[in-house]
Every structure is written in C-alpha cells, then in structure tokens.
Amino acid sequence: MSLTSYFMEATYLIASILFILSLKMMSHPDTARRGMFLAEGGMLAAIIGTLIGAHIVTWTWILAGLTIGSIVGAWMAVTVPMTAMPQRTALSHAFGALAAALVGIGEFMVNIGDLGPVKRGALGFEIILGALTTTGSLIAAGKLQGIIQGKPIQFRGQNILNLAVLAALAGCFFYFWFHPEASAVFYSMLGIAFLFGVMLVIPIGSADMPVVMSLLNSYAGLAAAATGFVLGNNVLIIAGTLDGFSGFILSVLMCKAMNRSITNVLFGGFGAAVAGPTAATAGGVMREISIDDAAMQLAFANRVIFVPGYGLATAQAQHAVRELAELLEDRGVTVKYAIHPVAGRMPGHMNVLLAEANVPYSALYEMEQVNPDFPSTDVAVVIGANDVVNPDARDNPKSIIAGMPILEVDRAKSVIVLKRGQGRGFSGLENPLFFKPCTSMLYGDAKTSLSHLAQAVQRV
C-alpha cells in the first residue's frame, strides 16, 4: 500500500468517528448544531482523502459533478421553505439512493469478473435497494408536493401483482448471483427494482407518509452500506448502517404511534375503503363558534394547549399561532404545544415548523408528557389535526384506528377545533370529538383564523 492509500484510510477512520460523534450530539438541541459541524468535517476529510488516495486520473467528470451538485444542493438548502421539508427530504433520499445504484452499475460494468459470491450478493442488494428507493422516494415526494394525488392508488389484485413483481426481482437476483456474466438479467433486475419502488409507494396514503419516509430513509442507508461491502470500504458500511438503523428506528416509532405494523402500512392501503362502517358511532351537531367568542375563551383561560397537525403546515400558520400564543402569554395564560409523533408528514415535522416560528422548544411537549395536563386545561386549540385527537382510537374498539395513542384533548374543559371545512380528514374517518358538547368549531383557513383570533384577543 502506498503512502497516499494509508492517508485515505486514515481520513475514512476519522470520518467514521466524527459521524458517530455527531449523531451522539444530536441527543440534545443545544449540542446538535456543533455535532453537525463535526459530521461536515468528517465528510470533507473523506472526500479529500479519496481525491488524494484513490489514483484519480480524470478530473473533468469529478469537477463537473462536484460543481453542479454543490450549486444545486446549496440552492436547495437555502431556498426550500420549512413547510416543504418532507418533500425535500424524500427527494434527497432519491438522490442518495440513485448515487448508490449508479455506483453499483459502474462496478458491474467494470469489475464484475473480480467479484466473489458475497460481493455479488451485496451488489444485488445495492442495485435493488438503490433503485427502488429512488423511484419510491420520487413518488413520495410527488405525493407530498401534491403533484400526485395523496389518496392511496389501489386496484384489484394489487397485492398479488406486487408479490409477482417481488418474485421476479428475487428471481433476477438469484440468477445474477449464479451467472454474473448475464448482463440482460442484471439490467432487468435494475428495471424491475425501479418499477417495484413505484408500486410500493402508490398504494400508501399521505397520512402514512411518516412511516414511508422513515423506511425509505432506512433503505437509502442500507443501499450505501451494501455499496461499502461491494467496494470493501468501511466508512461506507458505517455511515450507511447508521442511516439504515436511524430510519429503521424511526419507522418503528412511527408505527407504534399509529398502533400499526409495518406490513399493515405497506399493504393495508389505509384510508381508501374505510369511510363507511365506522361513521355510525358519531352523531349530533357540530357547534360553530365565532372569532370573538373564541378569543374571549382564550383570553380568560388559565391554561391553553395548542395541538398542531398537518393543517398547520398546509396553511403555513406556524407564525400566526406563535403570535397568538405570545399575546396570551402576555395576559398571563400558560401556553403549551402538544406534539403527536405522527402529526404532519414526517417525524418531527411540527417541531421544525414551530421552531421556525420562534417557539422555544421548552414549550413543545411530547404526547406522554402532555396528556396528563389536559384535564386541567381550560382550552385546547386543535389546528388542522384530526386522527391524532380522535377519541374513537381510545374508546371504540371497532374503529380502524383503535388502539392508536392519541392526544386526549377531549378531556380538556373546552376544545376549539380550527378546520378548513366540514369535510373529513385525510383518513376519511369521522371524528366524534367534533360532536362533543365541550367542542366548538372554527371554520376557515387556519392562518386567517389565528390572526383574527389574535386581533380579537388584543381587543378584549
């Protein structure tokens, strides 16, 4: 081994250590940012090490790629609004996975003769995971951006067709494993994996996106780890595995927060065929409330809890809610925010939005922390959230969301629900909360309603 190769390996070791340290520092918001600087340093070290130690002979393509990538990446980093964070992250999963898949194709073109059975297996995984994550993430991004309809796209025999495609994929994988020279099979495997990514994500509804995002995150990481096995490169294995496991842990957490299994999310097609039978439980009338009455309730409350949901993000109402909360705090009201783990479209979505609006994180409470507070709360304000506050999940064992842990806003003395219209939420499920005597509805765009409320509170 030459001196430059030793240097390269040293940078890889440093990068691995820095990546792990940076994730450790993620455990607290005060240290997280410094941690990311470490990770950036590690990445830079690994890149410089590679450029020096990997016997680079042609610089044109490298410089072209680095330049274009940096410009596009920096542009995205600066311009993407916080409300579009789920789409941005999905797109980013697609880019990462595509890079892994392309590296795999390159290895196939050049080095396939030298790869032993284990590396061939890793290469197969890399190609399959990379390709299906690429298209799957693109579909997810399309759904989140509203380019593709958010409702699950389902048809008869879908699961059977999916299984058939999966079988074909497995067939290609094993054939390729034993006959690495068959490039037609290799490229079919690539094509089928691209197709499978699409089919995997189209039947999943928008409300389940937090799970899908986490899973795709996991796959993208595992694709990078598989690349590490193919290239015999430890830093790729370490970084990929960290990403893979982080995504996996998040998927499990998200599933727990919905009381569903991962298979159920992937193949259940939640939200398509459920509108009928469960609706019978709810009844009565929804009581509407005027801005002034609502403002009066808020202004004379002692404790108020805001419960944000995806509607807060679509209405971009995070600043409006913070302004209202500040006015209330000035009047001596204790204000908290209750965050359900699956509120929004990706893990932690609401926290980021509220942080953007300058809400201190000490006012953001997790579900387990805040649920005991609801009975002593005067007003709970639900902003564009639906399923995560649906008492049916707790009370009605027949409901399809039965057993899902919820924010128990119905235990508060009164509830104000900010809602766009009288329609049902994304899951198409009737919500008995809206019919309770303690609940009143405030219809309209969340942002407008909140700023009107703020004005009315000032007049009180």
Binding site: A15, M26, P29, G65, S92, L102, G232
Partner: protein
C-alpha cells in the same frame, strides 16, 4: 473476497448497527426531522464511491459518465442535506431570545 476481509466487514456492519441503535434511540422526537436529514446527508458518503467511478484509473468512459451523475446526485445530497440540517438546528432555541421581534 478474502474471508478475513469479509469477516472484518461483517464485524464493522454489526458494530455500526449496534452503535447506531444505541446512539439514535437517544435522539428526542423534537429533533427527528433534523436527524433524518442529517443521517441522509451522512449517507451521501456514497459520494466517495462515486468519485472513484468518475475519475479513477482503470475505468472506461461510460463508467466515468455514470460516475459523474452519481457525484452530482451525491453532492446534492451532502451539500443540501448538511445545509438544511444546519438551517433547522439553528432555529431550535430553549427560551425566548431577545432577537425574536425582528423577524416579523
């Protein structure tokens, strides 16, 4: 593959998985979005594989071109991912800072 190298790789994988589980389960839900964005940026480490493909000795032109595309997408991931993670983490603060009124 040399069996010793393979075994070492499997060790690395298993230890990284264990360590990842330990480290990441400590991250509070508050930071789950930045976490996802950060791990995604870190997995942009496939950039180093792409760099080799795009410019190293012994690879033909088609491989260089594939590598160039891979370098581009991986760089977008790294630069964009770290950039946006930093932007998010900057926003998390513990208490109402005096600077808050300016941003309206």
């Amino acid at each position: 593959m040399n069996p010793a190298v393979l075994i070492a790789s499997v060790y690395v994988f298993a230890l990284a998985a264990f360590l990842g589980y330990q480290v990441i389960s400590r991250v509070p839900p508050l930071l789950h979005t930045p976490l996802m964005s950060a791990t995604n940026a870190i997995s942009g480490i496939s950039l180093i594989g792409s760099l080799v493909l795009a410019g190293a000795k012994g690879y033909p032109l088609p491989a260089h071109i594939l590598g160039c595309v891979a370098v581009t997408t991986a760089t977008i991931n790294v630069v964009g991912g770290f950039g946006i993670t930093d932007r998010m983490l900057k926003m998390f603060r513990s208490r109402t800072a005096p600077a808050k009124k300016e941003e309206k």
